[in-house]
Symmetry: C2
Subunit: 351 residues, 2 copies
DNA sequence: TTGAAAGCGCTAACAT
DNA sequence: ATGTTAGCGCTTTCAA
């Protein structure tokens, strides 16, 4: 039973050694479980550890070993349910593999990301997992490359390992689903919070599916705040896309949050989903499954993504994986719910 | 410009000293910004630091200082949007005060919490912030008390500082809102993911408001999975509460997630909200504000909660706050949305 | 103002 | 099988 002495400093390995009447190496050997410590001594050491409430100082250990078991996790916005869930899964898998996680939140600001990375590096993290990355400048690369391995999950950089869903294929599935339902005027809505690389891949998948069906892609870049959309470098209100002469019968949003926002706007405008407008999202966040949201979406296997990223990173750390960046892609799945339906052609003609 | 030498070990303070032609103490003085280093030497040191790409090893520093600037954060479930947002705010405020955060996710399991705490302690965290706490045993207390200060945010323990919303008052407001609308059969739904202490306080607020209005409290403990509810130690399907002879006209849920689940069930059963059933939540998570959810709820000021917790913890760390546990309470606010309305008395009578 | 030296708590040779 | 010793990279007296 530990002496609840709150004023004294935490006991060290030396305190244990003294109490057990052995050298500190022996204590160290016991702690690290190295073979070849006499049973009697081992017992005495264990007893001393228990009596003193001794807890090894990981900082000291990792200082001499010159490597930590801390993993840096760069996360964009924990307020975003997709990111939060990814963070959770990453923490879970890291923890299971004996690593601790040090989070650094960037709010998609590059300066925040850069100072965050510096902090992680000062703690000599063993590796860095990017759940978001603003690849605006080469700042991150200059800080990290050749120092610690890093893996980009659901985001991308050409100088590190990448684990992500098959965005292009996912977008194709989503788009084809809408085409198969009979839609022809199908727009792609790019949400600004989606990573550039992912957005591009999804756009490619969308455009290819459209062209293969003889349809022309229409891409909108969404600014949520004033419910405005940018198309061909021109701003216009979202409502003009949902109604009016430029209106579409279906929208594929680059993520669920954008899609849900779209449902909100549609509701306010009296545009009925799915009768007047079909909406498909991307990610399959928890919210999407609520009966009131009921969003058709492309599901990302977050658990699998986290698993793969940790497998990749630990492989690098253990030297099992060497050489240039690898890229792992996991399968996505279309989850059909109630936000998509056959277009109401009659209405179109009448309008 | 740093030499991108990927094979060499990171430069140490000694490398910098050699290159600058000074002693390592001088380098240390420059790094820590202590006054009284000759301008010329300072410049040489700075140049050497830059040339080498030197980055101080925080582990080494904190080993000699015998204290870290790492804060442990015990979080229940990052998949829960309320927890995720709290985690985000806590990270933000910690970071702003120069602390790093080490997360440990517990999934409401005590063993996970306990091993998590041990890990944090091995890293010699300066303090621990609990965003969730299973106070089942005294395990956590035995590990932490007298070792590092800890603050319980939105949860509770009698041996540490507590920062939380005024749960009782919040529950009173919610209940009174329903009473004022004319409801009489108002139930309290306890969601299992809400911390015990918070749940109790909310129940008290609810019960008091009910009794003051001459109404009798009805408390249900909810098991989401099989849509079952426990009342007076007897299990029954939720639908029996929404319809049937035991039905109520309003429900106050101990959190938003439970309330949203309730909306789902109501939708499935064809029970109209708010006409047939008014629902009030607690927390005001992002989802609650979606037009399709539109939940009346008691808002927790998460940013303020995080701010206060960090203020409290850092005050302890700097010795500005000493003595027994303090308890800080922040004001809550009722956000009236579309899930509550005057009860449809006609319907009641007819049913 | 600067440098030398003694640790912080631990691991990992190396002796014994 | 156990103890001795030399660091890990840094801060912090203490002298000079």
């Amino acid at each position: 039973m530990p002496t609840g002495n709150s004023t004294s400093r935490p006991p060290t390995i030396l305190d244990v050694a003294h109490r057990a009447g052995v050298s500190k190496s022996t204590v160290s050997n016991v702690i690290r479980g190295v073979h070849g410590v006499a049973a009697a001594k081992r017992a005495r050491v264990l007893a001393a550890i228990d009596a003193l409430g001794y807890r090894p100082n990981v900082l000291a250990r990792q200082l001499v070993q010159r490597r930590t078991t801390i993993l840096g996790v760069v996360v964009g916005d924990l307020g975003n349910p997709f990111h939060a869930e990814m963070a959770k899964q990453v923490e879970r898998h890291a923890s299971a593999r004996g690593y601790r996680t040090m989070f650094c939140s960037t709010q998609a600001e590059e300066t925040a990301e850069l100072t965050g990375i510096q902090n992680l590096l000062e703690y000599r993290v063993a590796g860095i997992i990017f759940l978001a990355h603003t690849g605006a400048s080469s700042g991150a690369r200059e800080l990290i490359e050749g120092v610690v391995p890093s893996v980009f999950v659901t985001c991308s950089a050409d100088w590190g390992d990448v684990v992500s869903g098959d965005d292009q294929r996912g977008a194709e599935m989503a788009t084809r689903h809408l085409i198969d339902l009979g839609h022809q005027r199908i727009a792609y809505f790019a949400d600004p919070t989606v990573e550039d690389a992912a957005d591009r891949a999804r756009q490619v998948g969308y455009s290819q599916a459209m062209r293969q069906a003889g349809l022309s892609p229409i891409v909108y870049y969404w600014r949520h705040a004033p419910d405005t959309v940018v198309h061909n470098n021109r701003e216009m209100p979202v409502q003009d896309v949902l109604r009016g002469p430029r209106s579409v019968t279906a929208i594929f949003s680059s993520n669920d949050l954008g899609a849900i926002e779209l449902l909100d706007v549609a509701d306010r405008l009296g545009v009925n989903v799915p009768d007047d407008l079909s909406v498909v999202g991307f990610d399959d966040v928890l919210m999407a499954g609520l009966s009131r949201i009921n969003l058709t979406t492309v599901a990302q296997p977050q658990e699998e993504l986290a698993r793969q990223s940790l497998a990749t990173l630990t492989a690098r750390l253990q030297g099992e994986l060497t050489g240039g960046p690898v890229r792992r892609t996991v399968e996505l799945e279309l989850v059909v719910r109630g936000s998509t339906a056959v277009p109401r052609v009659v209405h179109r003609k009448a309008g």
